[in-house]
Symmetry: C2
Subunit: 393 residues, 2 copies
């Protein structure tokens, strides 16, 4: 197997395969064929061009087209997916009667093509199974979050040193990006679903924090250009502005999500009060959440606390308010579970999620914090440990 510590050990992959196999059986799928990059990475620890074929009872086969010459015990070169059935038959494996395909991830035409490869099998959507399995992290995955979280906090420590009076939001973000890249940030920010574009994260300050975004992130911002309307928009960071930094901690394939708020000079009393409510919500979460806690309940009491503080109209935005207050993280920034009023999920050990109660204040900007938490048998462990008060730049 792969020796490099950047690769998951065999034991860890076996946990994943076993969970998926069990779920395939429960959903009456005899096999699945995986072709999205994130799920290939999850199943193998590699990114390759090709397909992972996993049956309900065998270890997966890595059918690959690229990279050329790849040498791996489970890898089998193919020219095209249509080669797969004959290769399965050569191995004495029967073709599945029901095959799982990633209906929420691959294009219509790719799905139709793969369906034809296994004709006359029935095809079923395997995306929800993978999303559910990926929701519960393995021991190696949890280690990866710890690596990301530690470096993420270290990067935020340097933020005040990069501030200069008169600089713009994007200038400060650029310095943070450089700091993160120089310490090993992979840069790429993966998200589930189409049209969830962003570049390494967001920095919001002043009125720009109110600008609604077309994307399903917690907050918006106008962005630098109409082709990427999210985050910093080139505004000068002025005295009295809050500066919310929400960059992705992607130092491994597993992204930690952490937001901290800085200030240029002093903020309004309301801003400090709202920020404290966000800290209080994080503390309440730490003190009460445990396996079995309802994700919907977490959203509901967060909204209630915001309203009781008289801050309901600026909770999770003003002109556009996000209807969630937390979300699973992993290889993608928006994994399961989601802390929203309609969630059916209960917390389970091994879940890793971000909790981000935020307030947007006219003229000031956004305040609040976001942490990434691991659900353990006993409650929560905070992965993103870093001072939570508003720090003056």
């Amino acid at each position: 197997m792969d020796q490099n510590t950047n690769f998951p050990p065999a034991d860890d992959l076996k946990i994943r395969w076993k969970r998926i196999r069990q779920s395939l059986l429960e959903n009456r799928m005899e096999a699945c064929l995986i072709s999205s990059g994130v799920n290939i990475y999850y199943l193998t620890g590699h990114i390759f061009g090709g397909y992972v074929y996993l049956t309900a009872d065998d270890d997966p086969i890595y059918f690959f087209q690229r990279p050329a010459g790849w040498d791996h015990p489970q890898a089998v070169p193919i020219r095209k997916p249509e080669d797969i059935p004959a290769l399965l038959k050569e191995r004495g494996m029967k073709l599945p009667g029901n095959i799982g395909l990633e209906a929420d991830q691959i294009t219509y035409n790719e799905y139709i093509r793969l369906q034809a490869v296994f004709n006359p099998a029935t095809a079923t959507n395997v995306t929800p199974i993978l999303r559910k399995v990926r929701m519960i992290k393995t021991p190696w995955e949890i280690q990866q979050f710890r690596i990301s979280a530690k470096k993420h906090a270290e990067a935020y420590r340097h933020i005040p040193s990069y501030f200069r009076p008169g600089m713009t939001d994007i200038e400060l973000q650029n310095e943070i990006e450089r700091e993160m890249r120089s310490k090993g940030s992979i840069g790429l920010f993966r998200a589930f679903g189409n049209n969830m574009d962003i570049y390494m994260g967001s920095l919001l300050s002043g009125d720009n924090a109110e600008t609604p975004s077309p994307f399903d992130f917690a907050l918006g911002g106008g962005g630098l250009h109409p082709s990427l309307p999210i985050g910093a928009n080139g505004s000068i960071l002025r005295t009295g502005n809050a500066v919310m930094v929400d960059m992705a901690g992607n130092y491994t394939a597993y992204i930690t999500d952490m937001t901290r708020t800085f200030s240029v000079g002093k903020l309004s009393e309301k801003a400090y009060r709202a920020h404290q409510v966000s800290i209080d919500m994080n503390n309440r979460l730490m003190n009460t959440a445990q396996p079995g806690t309802s994700c919907a309940e977490i959203y509901n009491w967060s909204l209630q606390m915001a309203e009781e503080a008289g801050l309901g109209d600026c909770f999770m935005g003003t002109r556009q308010q996000a209807k969630f207050v937390g979300h699973g993280v992993g290889i993608e920034i928006n994994e399961l579970p989601v802390m929203t009023s309609r969630s059916q999920d209960l917390l389970q050990p091994g879940m890793v999620f971000a909790f981000e109660p935020k307030f947007v204040l006219h003229e000031t900007g956004a305040v609040g914090i976001e942490n990434t938490y691991l659900v353990t048998e006993n409650g929560l462990e905070k992965l993103t440990v870093f001072e939570e008060e508003i720090r003056e730049l």
Copy 2:
């Protein structure tokens, strides 16, 4: 209409709509419903969450879900795509008998859902139509490339000043990223097709240039982490190494693609010779290409020149050799046409494409140049004007 010069003027959008309408008619589609970010941007100059509905005879309607409160004369708020038919009927528009959907861009489940919205219409793949129309750039789009190209060249001018002996490939890349971001690079690097991940571009040096990649870019590289196996891998830039810089010039939504080669100390005689062959190929292209030139022919004579120079075995890679030598650029890095032996495309005025004949030399790294060219009535115009010789760092 939108006043900001970052938005395309109405005249320019009308050119696009007209071309698509004509193509819909030719392909017997009465309408198309567009939901991919890049095509929404192409059709409207905006990114929004929702759908563009374009019939063969009317201007498009922008059905949007987000951002909240968007005020635009063509924009109509919806909660879900299922709202669209009733809204069309309200406007006295009949439902189409044949609807174009983006079968090569949207997921299987999204396609099925949209198909059901227009049931019992026949659905046809509209992706190839959009790709063909987008292949011929409008006047405003060409302006955008000029802006990107100028800033792209300006960024490369600074590269030598960032080099320090003993630094790694990724450290140098990080400085270039910072330079580009500080001058307005949007950062996000859009590509057509699944599993084409990269972060702002690639810097290749030494043996890493030979590492095959799973992605369909011209060259590979091992990358920083198995979850993003492309580009710089943390190697120290050593005397005798070529340093190939191939970053995306995405200062507007239109990406210029430009590669230049630098050196640490002097390179081998073979490296300079191979680099000159790449320059010669670019000069031949400039001197011969014009409307009507076959894209396949461009590939074929490039390969032939490489072979005649005794460099066929290191042309476009060694362990894995790309089978194309150029590609259209635009909102995405990999648009039409493609300079490959199987291309049926002929050059047409308004095409913008990158030409990137490269050689990978064992131990040295990659050499060669890449320029972005505009096809005019009279031949080619080089957009990425910047010195082409190998520059010693």
